[in-house]
């Protein structure tokens, strides 16, 4: 969250993906940095136990959302 917000504030489009157990922490971090509307993408928790293939499938499912955030569409 911290890095995504700072990259965005530096003028580079960023997309941050966060698991849904961390929604309050992510929102709190965005507020702390004056970026309450920062568009965070949330995905189901957890991801640490996923196999490489499962993680790839998860990423493919989020790709369209990432593109939308990066292009502001």
């Amino acid at each position: 969250m911290h890095d995504g917000i700072h990259v965005e504030q530096a003028g580079l489009p960023s997309a941050t993906i966060c698991t849904d157990r961390f929604i309050p922490t992510a929102r709190g971090m965005a507020q702390m940095w004056g970026a309450a509307d920062y568009p965070t993408i949330f995905t189901e928790h957890p991801i640490e136990n996923l196999t490489r293939e499962q993680l790839r499938q998860r990423a493919e499912g989020l790709a369209a959302e990432v593109v939308a955030v990066l292009t502001g569409s």
Partner: protein, 352 residues
């Protein structure tokens, strides 16, 4: 209640109401606190001869600059005596040093606490306990200095449980975790002297720490150290966890370890702290077979894996030996670090 800059002020009619208001304002660790009146906070700052506006350190990731006044207010909340404030200030400054990387251990799912180790004359002047019930209850200085540091974390550094502190389990040391070394009761070099200070100086060492694991081996020195090394080599500590950070060549995190050794120092008359560290460093390790069984390393166990070992601490200097604990027995404890040294390193600062 009114908001002035980033300081919240409140009014109350009696002490019980004040304690309840402190709960409502989210200023406590779950236990009752001493209301931090402006007069009491000023008394603490006066006793330490410090200006309340002085910056103790910064936590840039959370946009926080920590003043002496904030630290003093949390020392009052914790139940400290005014003369404890310099220790809390030094510990806070150490915790905010870049190499401690506070944002890591204070937010991580790993659930670390900040262990505070006090050395030098101040430990004796303030009666900071280094003996019986080392990590237990019963001593005001230990209980409240450690608690003050936790309240600084929660109230000034935003390490609020469930919000920016995402500990999955945590441990009781997160309420308070402060000890002294019995450095005048041993021939061993005090921890702060090993870390660059003079014996007549007082210093505080902070360490991002898992809970203490008691070691009940009480035989000859080699037997005690053999048991300590076995405990420090456990699977499931941060040190034996798969290494997404740290030295990639090792495949595990490695890290620092605090070892406390109690009892009568005479048992160790033929040993220096360096000897203890060398003995332990050679034995704090785990076989590749075990690391594979625990899925720390990938792949099936292969012939030879039982005899291939991976060290869990990179160097003898990563073992911090502290002479502390009751005189009744030569028991000891092992405290693994929260993570690898690149994630957080023990920091020592002078108490002034």
């Amino acid at each position: 209640m009114s908001e002035q800059s980033n300081t919240t002020t409140a009014q109350w009619d009696n002490v019980f109401e004040a304690v309840e208001r402190c709960y409502e304002l989210g200023w406590t660790d779950g236990l009752p606190v001493v209301p931090p009146t402006a007069a009491r906070v000023a008394e603490f700052l006066d006793a330490a001869g410090r200006d309340g506006a002085e910056i103790v350190g910064e936590l840039p990731e959370r946009r926080r600059r920590i003043t002496t006044e904030k630290v003093a207010a949390n020392a009052v909340l914790a139940g400290c005596r005014p003369e404890y404030l310099p220790v809390v200030l030094a510990a806070t400054a150490a915790m905010l040093a870049p190499e401690f990387n506070l944002v890591g251990p204070s937010s991580s799912m790993g659930g670390a606490a900040t262990l505070v180790i006090v050395n030098g004359p101040v430990a004796r002047e303030l009666n900071i306990n280094a003996r019986n019930n080392l990590f237990g209850p019963g001593n005001r200085a230990n209980a409240t200095i450690g608690r003050a540091l936790r309240l600084v974390l929660m109230n000034a550094c935003a390490a609020v449980p469930g919000l920016f502190d995402r500990s999955v389990i945590g441990h009781p040391g997160k309420f308070t975790y402060c000890i002294a070394e019995a450095d005048t009761e041993t021939h061993w070099t005090p921890l702060h002297v090993e870390r660059g200070f003079a014996p007549e100086q007082s210093a505080v060492t902070v360490f991002a720490a898992e809970g203490p694991r008691q070691v009940r081996s009480v035989g000859r020195p080699e037997a005690i150290l053999y048991a300590i090394a076995d405990v420090a080599s456990s699977l499931g500590t941060s040190l034996s966890t798969s290494g997404s950070v740290g030295d990639p060549a090792q495949g595990i995190r490695q890290g620092e370890t605090v070892v406390t050794i109690a009892g009568n120092s005479g048992l160790w008359r033929d040993w220096s702290k360096a000897d203890v560290r060398d003995y332990l460093h050679a034995r704090i390790r785990r076989s590749v077979a075990d690391l594979k069984q625990a899925q720390v390393f990938a792949g099936p166990v292969e012939p030879g894996d039982e005899a291939r070992f991976v060290p869990l601490v990179a160097a003898p200097e990563d073992i911090l030996v502290v002479f502390a604990g009751g005189e009744e027995s030569n028991m000891s404890s092992v405290i693994p670090s929260w993570g690898p040294k690149v994630g957080s390193t023990a920091v020592t600062r002078e108490i002034r």
